[in-house]
């Protein structure tokens, strides 16, 4: 078992999940409750990583963040090193790659909240931020947990983006998925089995947490 890769993978997944939840909550609120004509376009863009091959996404990020583009050069100048083939670059790639896994459950959670509760909060003077933290987030708690766990697990298991954007640098960008790939490529099936088992147990345990949670109160009580 490559514990260095395990620790790096958990660190990557945790950081990615934290960033994703911070970004996804306001975006999901806008997608679920907003009236802008641009919502459909925004939804299509947020869902793109679901259908785009990870290698395609990884390739474009590699080009965008590398020295070939003005953006990549500006970013390198700003932070002092290129993002490609670094842990920071992996975090950026993971956030983009797992974005729909964070946004879509939260959009579904917010959309399922009874509209009369939202109208009432507005009538009682709630600002958008107060509406978010006193009504939307508490009532969509289960969806937020689902989003966090799906984002975490999706990042734990990502391969294509990691390989394209991070390379395979031990201690910096080598994740468990890359370790598993290397073990299989080296015909070390016993070690590959233990690596795969760790990922499998992680996924099952966290998904049990998602499904074991009680149902939300989002649709309102029986008082209507």
């Amino acid at each position: 078992m490559d514990w260095q890769a395990f620790a790096l993978t958990v660190k990557l997944a945790s950081l990615t999940t934290a960033i994703l939840i911070c970004l996804a909550v306001p975006i999901a609120a806008w997608l679920a409750l907003g009236r802008s004509r641009w919502r459909a376009v925004a939804e299509a863009i947020t869902g793109l990583p679901l259908v785009l091959p990870p290698t395609v996404l990884g390739f474009y990020l590699l080009v965008l963040l590398g020295p070939q583009t003005g953006f990549g050069r500006a970013l390198t100048g700003l932070i002092g090193h290129p993002l490609a083939f670094s842990f920071s670059g992996l975090v950026v790639g993971s956030v983009i790659y797992s974005f729909p896994f964070a946004v879509q459950p939260i959009v579904a959670g917010f959309s399922s909240i009874d509209g009369s509760l939202i109208d009432t909060a507005r009538l009682l003077g709630a600002s958008k931020i107060r509406l978010l933290h006193t009504i939307l987030i508490p009532l969509a708690g289960r969806s937020l947990l689902t989003a966090a766990i799906l984002s975490f697990l999706h990042t734990m298991g990502e391969f294509g983006v990691v390989l394209m954007l991070g390379g395979d640098i031990p201690g910096a960008t080598r994740t468990l998925s890359l370790v598993l790939f290397n073990q299989v490529e080296g015909f070390d099936y016993a070690k590959a089995n233990s690596t795969a088992l760790i990922l499998l147990i992680f996924c099952v345990a966290l998904l049990v947490v998602v499904y074991a949670r009680p149902k939300s109160l989002a649709a309102g009580g029986r008082n209507g």
Binding site: S116, L117, R122, G125, I135, N223, G224
Partner: protein
């Protein structure tokens, strides 16, 4: 006083009403689908008209010509709909307190007193610590009424808010409510599709039909035909 001149298209339903509600207590009467709830939602700011303007107590809150739209929570307007819409994750007392959070001019003790007074007014003081999910429909409607009144609105919009209460309880709550609103100088617009409810009060009545205002005035004039119909039903043994 509420003055409005509104046009709104909702699918095939066309809403066009221009009127002035000057009485302290106005009953908007009309059959289902006549646009009563739409009228209240437009006044409250929960919906935007396609064209028109609304003036509440001398202040324009909607004017489509100049793009004016005061948000729902800043119109000093409370609203209670048929569905009580209590926040299920907050206690009854926290529900009533919700609209007071922004009132920085009120101290904590004043807010607590206000919450208690409003729950007492609707006969729900004993429910303060309960969860809304443990309330009956009638209890939930009482709490929703207390919640709408707590932030001291200048205008109260009631969309059949006590429909889950039996007739005696409804009359009791309405009588207490009318006295309190009169004392606090709160103008009220009550929507109903029940002619008996409209005739039971001495309020000004606005008759709405298919999105148009048919008549406005004293109940006995505006609802003369409805009154005759109810009397005929009574004389026929309620058939």
């Amino acid at each position: 006083m509420v003055e409005l001149d509104l046009k709104a298209q909702r699918g095939s339903f066309h809403f066009e009403v221009a009127c002035r509600f000057a009485a302290p207590w106005t009953v908007v009467f009309g059959p289902s689908g006549s646009g009563k709830s739409t009228l209240l939602r437009l006044i409250a700011g929960l919906e935007i008209p396609d064209a028109g303007r609304i003036c509440i107590l001398g202040q324009y809150v909607t004017d489509t010509e100049i793009g004016l739209k005061i948000p729902a929570g800043r119109r000093m307007t409370g609203m209670v709909a048929q569905l009580s819409a209590l926040f299920p994750h907050l206690s009854v007392a926290a529900n009533v307190a919700y609209g007071l959070a922004g009132r920085i001019d009120l101290g904590r003790q004043t807010k607590q007193q206000r919450i208690g007074a409003m729950l007492d007014l609707v006969g729900a003081l004993h429910l303060a610590d309960r969860s809304p999910t443990a309330l009956s429909g009638g209890e939930a409607q009482r709490v929703a009424l207390a919640r709408a009144l707590a932030p001291m609105p200048r205008l109260l919009l009631l969309d059949e808010p006590l429909s889950a209460l039996d007739a005696n309880a409804r009359d009791q709550v309405l009588t207490d409510l009318q006295a309190r609103l009169k004392a606090e100088d709160v103008q009220t617009i009550l929507v109903t599709h029940d002619a008996a409810d409209a005739l039971a009060t001495e309020a000004e009545v606005a008759l709405l039909k298919e999105g148009r205002l048919i008549a406005i005035g004293p109940a006995e004039e505006v609802l003369a035909a409805e009154r005759q119909r109810l009397l005929a039903r009574l004389s026929n043994g309620g058939a």
